[in-house]
Amino acid sequence: MCDTCGCSSESGAVLRKPGNAGYHVHIGDGDHVHGHEDQGHEHDHGHDHDGHHHHSHDDRSRKIVMEQDVLLKNNLLAERNRGYFEARNIVALNFLSSPGSGKTSLLEKTIPLLLGDFPVAVIEGDQQTTNDADRIHALGVPVIQVNTGSGCHLDALMVNRALKEMELKDGSLLCIENVGNLVCPAMFDLGEAKKIVVISTTEGDDKPLKYPAMFHEADICVLNKTDLLPYVDFSASRCRQNAMRVNHHLEWFEVSVKTGDGIEALTGRIRQMVKNR
């Protein structure tokens, strides 16, 4: 059940905007928007099931060949998102990591450095709260929060719906911060140009081996919190080696969001991606 309007929603995911407490949109086949002027809202409950099956001894069995990718619907929608980005010269980056490795801090650090070159917008994914969106909102860039409820990842539909609620400028950089999770988000294409996985020195340097699917899918790996290296049992070179074993195309960056070390190289790479789109 929705905690804002009390309606029961088929899908758990909700869009929210910082500084607009009444605004929220439920994502699903029966989307409905709540605004201040909203008087009653529509729910599309889809089709009904009559709740009983007919079993008959005369039933005839038939085998139907489908050969359909299970993720087909998500992948098709991701391609639509990709087409939208292409038409509008937008570069979308999907930021992935376990919770607490510093995705939001990394965005807070890099976005102000990039704003002089092109517009930046952000989609924030979290199970609950608009805390991250509030932090990005404070930078003065457009941001929308996707609350996935019980969901453990963003999918192409959530991003598609979020895009419709945003006023993106042509030529923007769109940073999509996925739900903090090194497992599930690896499977779901959102339509992004590149996947950037963030890992920090307070985690284990064998993480790329423990969560190979994520590191295999990623294009760029950012090792964060390098300022803590003298105090933790973490070998940056071993971590890099492990990551390269899983994905030898992976681009590698080492940064400290705290001190600003290495940030220049990363923003340089992002500028290059936007320029070469």
Binding site: S61, R62, V65
Partner: protein, 117 residues
Amino acid sequence: MHEMSIALSIAEAVEKRAAAEGAARVSSIELVVGKLSGIEPESLRFCFSAASKGTVAEDAELLIEVREGTARCMECAKEFPVSFYFAECPGCGSLRVSILSGEEFLIQSMTIEEEGD
């Protein structure tokens, strides 16, 4: 728990096709799950029984074919089985390996029951 949203999309795809075929119910669904696809068959079975409740695919048997991963070495072209993304060529020890199969995740087919008359 991405298996739940996966199970829901399987139920949705099957229901849509079953309606188009005029099925009274779906008795079995054949899936191909590659070992590198990131899907846990047991978890998927568990979620599917919940996801298919009240649909024509309720009580359908999930027949899951688990497909092995294979890779080819990009240095010496040797092909070998893999169960993880970090694979070392058993021939030359190279890590430049490309995955040939094992990432599949397909609804292969389903068996429907039509009403007799």
